[in-house]
């Protein structure tokens, strides 16, 4: 078993905890939405299994996985950007 990947996993757990330890509550929803988009990386998992799919059933399920993943990653980033576009500072008069 490759222990390097476990090592990276453990480090990532701690980085994830540390990196958002101080977030104003106004950013909780955009932050949730932004991290939601990041796990949309599952699209690439879908691409990998579909690329190697050998049976019609595997192709069908892989196809669904790609659609789901694609909607997750693209929709996720777009909806986050739409929320955040609205955070503007008051223009100085």
């Amino acid at each position: 078993m490759d222990t390097n990947i476990l090592f990276i996993f453990i480090l990532a757990v701690f980085v994830g905890f540390e990196v958002i330890s101080k977030v104003p509550s106004m950013l909780h929803t955009p932050l949730m939405s932004g991290t939601n988009a990041i796990h949309g990386i599952i699209l690439f998992g879908g691409i990998l299994v579909l690329a190697d799919a050998a049976t019609p059933l595997a192709q069908a399920l892989g196809f669904v996985a790609v659609i789901f993943g694609s909607a997750n990653v693209f929709g996720g980033f777009m909806v986050t950007d739409r929320m955040l576009r609205m955070f503007k500072k008051k223009k100085s008069p």
Partner: protein
């Protein structure tokens, strides 16, 4: 592509994801953070490699690649339609839906890898695949229930005796199946057991979210979001993709912390949110608090409120879900601008759980161009509430209920609130005398310094704007 360059680029992807989340946690840089994370995603796509090390985009074009292209485009269209057509008030549902799709994809990817006929896998990899299948499908069905609850379908907690025991039993069966499959990853029985596991996990997602009330959905969505992250990380282990492990784990751990932060803002332990079926025990007791008997609320007209506001020095506006429902955020901004022109200092007091999602109010007010430095968080504004002349409560209820401070028997006792009752005068804008989401009476409405302005929030605010302009 040389493997050294790919390895370096993967490090770059990890840095961009971490930086993206970091930048997302400050208002000034949040939008940039989202773009940084998207850039990381683009690089991860360009350098995508198969588990055996082949570069994905240098293989010959096949029917499967056509399917990939079509599927991706369908996803983009669905995602864009969802992201840009949804109303700002329905943002939380949209996040829930996207999260569910991600969970579903994670489960499908893991299942397809698991049932692949011609491969032998280690116990560790089999475990990762089963974990991803279980958590991914649970997140899928749970998110859809959360979405429906936020859309107003079966908002009330759905409970029956022995529910927690039944859920516990299902969980035991699921874990038993996982154990069996980890050891016997091949054979006819395995496929059957796998299908049973998949269905039970889907059902468990429904059973887990159904007993939780609509008001607690933000916490549930945040939790399911971190679940999906962990499922994606497990998939990354299964197909040996480092970028997926890093991205999924970052989401899993930051999402867990975010969930705990949200619960802290409501002063409730996470176990209480998930298994407590809020209000089912304390609701009746809270509603019948004796000292409210005989007291009545005092209504007020818009003209009078306008005068109070126009000649105040400090005004605090407390927005709540009622403002979102009435789509009144633009009218609120108009009122605040009008008062600003007259030299009144206007601030918005934002409770961490006002609305249906933390930050919900900020997003709505930002949409209406209220500058974010005018939005003040609960802890920051409470110490100065005594000096405030008028506090305008727009469609907020539980988050300003002094019962949280005064009434030991109240189900919301101990929840931090915006202390509106300490202001010189309080105007509560409300459609009717219905109780809030927690289903309990609000003591604020009966205080001597409180007046009620009944009616649709948007209509009342427009009347206020006109009256302030005229005065």
């Amino acid at each position: 592509m040389s493997s050294t360059i790919v390895a370096l680029l993967i490090i770059g992807v990890a840095v961009l994801f971490i930086l993206g989340i970091k930048l997302l946690s400050s208002p000034k840089t949040a939008r940039l953070g989202n773009l940084v994370a998207a850039a990381g995603m683009t690089i991860a796509l360009i350098i995508l490699h198969k588990p055996n090390g082949d570069y994905v985009w240098s293989q010959g074009w096949s029917f499967n690649y056509t399917l990939i292209a079509i599927g991706t485009v369908i996803g983009i269209v669905v995602g864009a339609l969802g992201a840009y057509s949804v109303k700002m008030t329905a943002m939380p549902q949209m996040v829930a839906l996207f999260n569910g799709l991600g969970g579903g994809a994670a489960a499908l990817v893991a299942s397809l890898e698991f049932v692949k006929p011609d491969h032998d896998i280690t116990t560790f990899i089999a475990g990762s695949m089963l974990f991803a299948t279980l958590i991914g499908s649970l997140s899928f069905s749970g998110s859809i229930i959360a979405y429906l609850k936020l859309q107003g379908k079966f908002e009330k907690p759905m409970t029956f005796p022995g529910q927690n025991i039944l859920n516990g039993l299902i969980l035991l069966v699921i874990l038993g199946l996982c154990g069996f499959l980890t050891l016997h990853a091949a054979g006819g029985n395995a496929t059957l057991a796998f299908i049973v596991l998949f269905s039970l996990a889907l059902f468990f997602g429904v059973a887990m979210v159904m007993p939780i009330g609509g008001a607690d959905m933000p916490v549930v969505i945040s939790l399911l979001n971190s679940f999906t992250g962990l499922a994606v990380a497990a998939d990354g282990f299964a197909i040996n993709n480092l970028a997926m492990v890093v991205a999924g784990t970052l989401v899993g751990s930051s999402g867990t912390l975010l969930t705990l932060l949200m619960c802290k803002a409501m002063n409730r332990p996470v176990t209480n949110v998930l298994f407590g079926a809020f209000g089912s025990s304390g609701g009746a007791g809270g509603a019948a608090t004796g000292d409210l008997a005989g007291k009545t609320v005092k209504p007020i007209q818009a003209d009078e409120v306008a005068l109070l506001l126009a000649y105040a020095q400090q005004v605090v506006i407390v927005p709540g879900y009622g403002m979102a429902v009435a789509q009144a955020q633009h009218s609120v901004r108009e009122l605040s601008d009008e008062l600003g022109k007259r030299g009144v200092e206007v601030r918005f007091a934002i409770h961490p759980v006002a609305g249906r999602m933390p930050g919900h109010m900020n997003v709505l007010l930002a949409e209406a161009n209220v500058p974010y430095d005018q939005l003040v968080e609960m802890e920051a504004i409470n110490p100065s509430m005594d000096r405030v002349d008028v506090c305008l409560v727009i469609g907020a209820n539980d988050v300003v209920n002094p019962a949280a401070r005064e009434e030991k028997t109240s189900p919301i006792y101990g929840m931090p609130i915006i202390e509106a009752d300490r202001c010189k005068s309080v105007i509560v804008m409300k459609r009717s005398m219905a109780a809030g989401f927690a289903g309990i009476e609000n003591h604020l409405f009966y205080k001597d310094n409180t007046r009620m302005l009944f009616g649709d929030a948007k209509a009342s605010l427009n009347a206020l704007v006109a009256a302030v302009k005229a005065s």
